[in-house]
Symmetry: C2
Subunit: 250 residues, 2 copies
Amino acid sequence: MQILPLTQIGEVGPGDDLAALMIAALDAEGIVPAAGDVLVVTQKIVSKAEGRAVDLATILPGARAIELAAITRKHPPLIELVLRESTDVLRAVPHVLITRHRTGHVMANAGIDRSNIGPDGADLALLLPEDADVSAEALGARLSDHYGCPIAIVVSDSFGRPWRYGVVNVAIGASGLPALLDRRGLPDRDGRPLEVTQIAVGDMIATAAGLVMGEGGEGIPAAVVRGYSWSAPARPAAALVRALAEDLFR
Amino acid sequence: MQILPLTQIGEVGPGDDLAALMIAALDAEGIVPAAGDVLVVTQKIVSKAEGRAVDLATILPGARAIELAAITRKHPPLIELVLRESTDVLRAVPHVLITRHRTGHVMANAGIDRSNIGPDGADLALLLPEDADVSAEALGARLSDHYGCPIAIVVSDSFGRPWRYGVVNVAIGASGLPALLDRRGLPDRDGRPLEVTQIAVGDMIATAAGLVMGEGGEGIPAAVVRGYSWSAPARPAAALVRALAEDLFR
């Protein structure tokens, strides 16, 4: 398996044609995508292209945002945006605000990012895409059409974990591959039912790509994962979101 | 970056020389490890080589194990082993038992596995290595000596996540690389302090390797991750364990 970084992507702005940018970046690396290749793109460039930046100066924080901003010591307009993007607040302590995003993904700050917005964007916050599975689907359709073969897409974001330090990349959007692979009912080598029955393939591919993309200042917002094979039907990243009724750690 | 599966590893048994098995498997694939290569091995073969299999028929469950077995509908002797290997029970509901392993890692069943033990091992349970960081250190020393260059090691296991379906591989042991990479204080491209400050490199490498190793019945218990570069000092997988005082979801 290979992971190929796409280094030739400049600053992405609202309204940019992400598929055209990706095709140009693939060209620049001399990569010709083939069936089974997965293009991983960071949430950040998808959000930027979709115009999801919000000027924090235009956001008036409500009472709940002001209260949570005091607890978390974060910027009240930012917290207001987090609340608008969330259905539930799981934890709020100094410097930490963990919510359930309206798409169901549990993460810090509803995935809203204030870093790396661009030199002129001091007061901008970048929201997640409206629906990253839809973004992945659209990007995949364009690329599959262009290259004449199915290209899978993963939209990645970096998440913390409750009992482990450090972030890892996970999938918040996916198309063309089984983001969640269900192996329930299959026997293991000794004929016993498998104890591990579902594999978070979308997350694993996002994480693998994250190793070459880096975090923060590196500016490598996309990579191709080549040589991972699957036969199960495609499932979006929404399949990775654990049902609320099964949340033991709310 | 490349991820190369080691397919030529047979059944591993107690007392086997894991370093010798890895060298033979690398030879069989024609892989000559070089500086910067990371050898990822599953917890399962490390535990088997270290003789961590326990005959469940010899385990007498105590009152607490019997109580938790009734709640979780699991085998009482298995639960007794889980409790002996754990410092805390985080959640116990039907079919789910999440504990804090004595090494600090929070996971299902204290990482104890009943599948894939071998055709004659119907009543065997496989514990985690005594200390997977120590296992990684020992294996790394042997391989580095053999190949005449530093070889990093990651011992991987598959973990569930509280808010996401599916397992991913993480690092429970590491040597020769920064399992946790600290970037606090570094500015992003726009000169702002990075919001994401710690990266779980050990977990990410384990996850990437997991894509080629598969889960359950595939029998690919090791892989080489080639082309990931780092300059930070090595830190063991213990660095990935969040301090108890910072656990918001106990």
